[in-house]
Amino acid sequence: MSRKPYLRKMPKSWWLARRSYTSYMARELSCVFIGAYSLLIVVGLHRLSQGRDEYGAFLDALQSPLSLVFHAAALVFALIHTVSWFSLAPKAMPLQIGEKKLSGGPVVLAHYAVWIVVSAGVLLVARI
């Protein structure tokens, strides 16, 4: 008998088909905001190197409504990025002591702990 396998096309809206796919896409999209924010910081550094007035103008520009909206969105996506990647970390770092495989909880907690310590360090440096 002759065969005629039928190939189904994946719809363009596949990422809306399941909640988990949509949150995966949100995680993927988050890197655009992380990248844009890093770029913004680089621009800020550049303006700082140009002098006090230039840096002042840069800080003023940050107050614009557009910039505030961007910052709010970047914050949301940075949180999505952090929380979703931290929760996946145990998959990449399996823990086994002797015969026993450990649960991923400590790996996730360690990530949060390092995050808090590093953030506190940055804030401390910023105050000095």
Binding site: P5, Y6, K91
Partner: protein, 248 residues
């Protein structure tokens, strides 16, 4: 008392007559201890002999009855009607694979990929029988045991949008099995497997959607295997960079 019934909507495709697949609805008796496979068997035995699907063990062991049930990849012998009743159950062949006929998917692509990662122990040196068994401690076994549980049911491939979008991707189960043998203390074949596993179509086509591990009925966690292979391959790359004369 009238008998309780349930509607089952099945995607049918008969290559000799059908241009495209289409849904056909059957009404089956509802029993709360029935799984979707029981409903299919009821249809085949009593309503429509032309319905095609694969199954064998009816106990989540053989891996042949994977289907999309209400859009989710599931073993049909493991999906109870009571979880859907009184709503309709929609049954389709595994996503991301071509349809051979009705609920039968063409899985040749996976078989080739599985073969390409050499899913068997490749010893450093052949061991003679009188040398006795190659012993392994329980700790050494536990390092890879979960990956030995794979029943090749392909639910993970049906769950993986990356496989759907990039058909060359070696995919979750094959990469998990490559990892399983790489972790085995009796094995020395990692370098051979890395040719495929560490290629673009190997672990690097994975974008860590993670759905493979959610779909897996055997808790194999292929997503974990793939991420661990990525890390090990990255370490290889740095080692080669820092020590280009060293053995890779």
């Amino acid at each position: 008392m009238t008998e309780q019934t349930l509607q089952v909507e099945i995607l049918r495709y008969r290559p000799e007559t059908d241009q495209d697949p289409a849904f056909q609805t059957y009404t089956v008796p509802y029993r709360d201890d029935w799984v979707v496979l029981d409903a299919l068997n009821h249809i085949k035995d009593n309503i429509d002999r032309t319905l095609s699907y694969r199954w064998s063990c009816h106990m989540a062991v053989c891996g042949s009855c994977g289907m999309m049930i209400n859009g989710e990849p599931k073993l049909s012998c493991h999906a109870f009607l009571r979880d859907y009743y009184p709503n309709k159950v929609r049954v389709e062949p595994l996503a991301n694979f071509p349809i051979e006929r009705d609920l039968v998917a063409v899985t040749d692509d996976f078989m080739e990929k599985l073969e390409s990662v050499k899913p068997y122990v490749i010893p450093q040196q052949e061991r003679a029988v009188d040398e006795g068994p190659h012993l392994q401690t329980p700790a050494q076994l536990n390092a890879f045991k979960q990956y030995t549980m794979c029943i090749n049911c392909l639910l993970c491939y049906a769950a993986c949008p990356q496989y759907g979008l990039t058909p060359d991707f070696v995919g979750p189960a094959a990469l998990a099995l490559a990892h399983r043998y790489n972790l085995d203390t009796r094995d020395a074949g990692r370098e051979q497997r890395q040719e495929i596993a560490a290629s673009n179509e190997g672990v690097w086509d994975c974008t860590f959607v993670g759905e493979c591990s959610q779909a897996c009925p055997k808790s194999v966690d292929p997503a974990a295997a793939i991420q661990q292979t990525k890390i090990a391959s990255t370490i290889d790359w740095y080692k080669a960079l820092l020590n280009p004369w060293g053995k890779r």
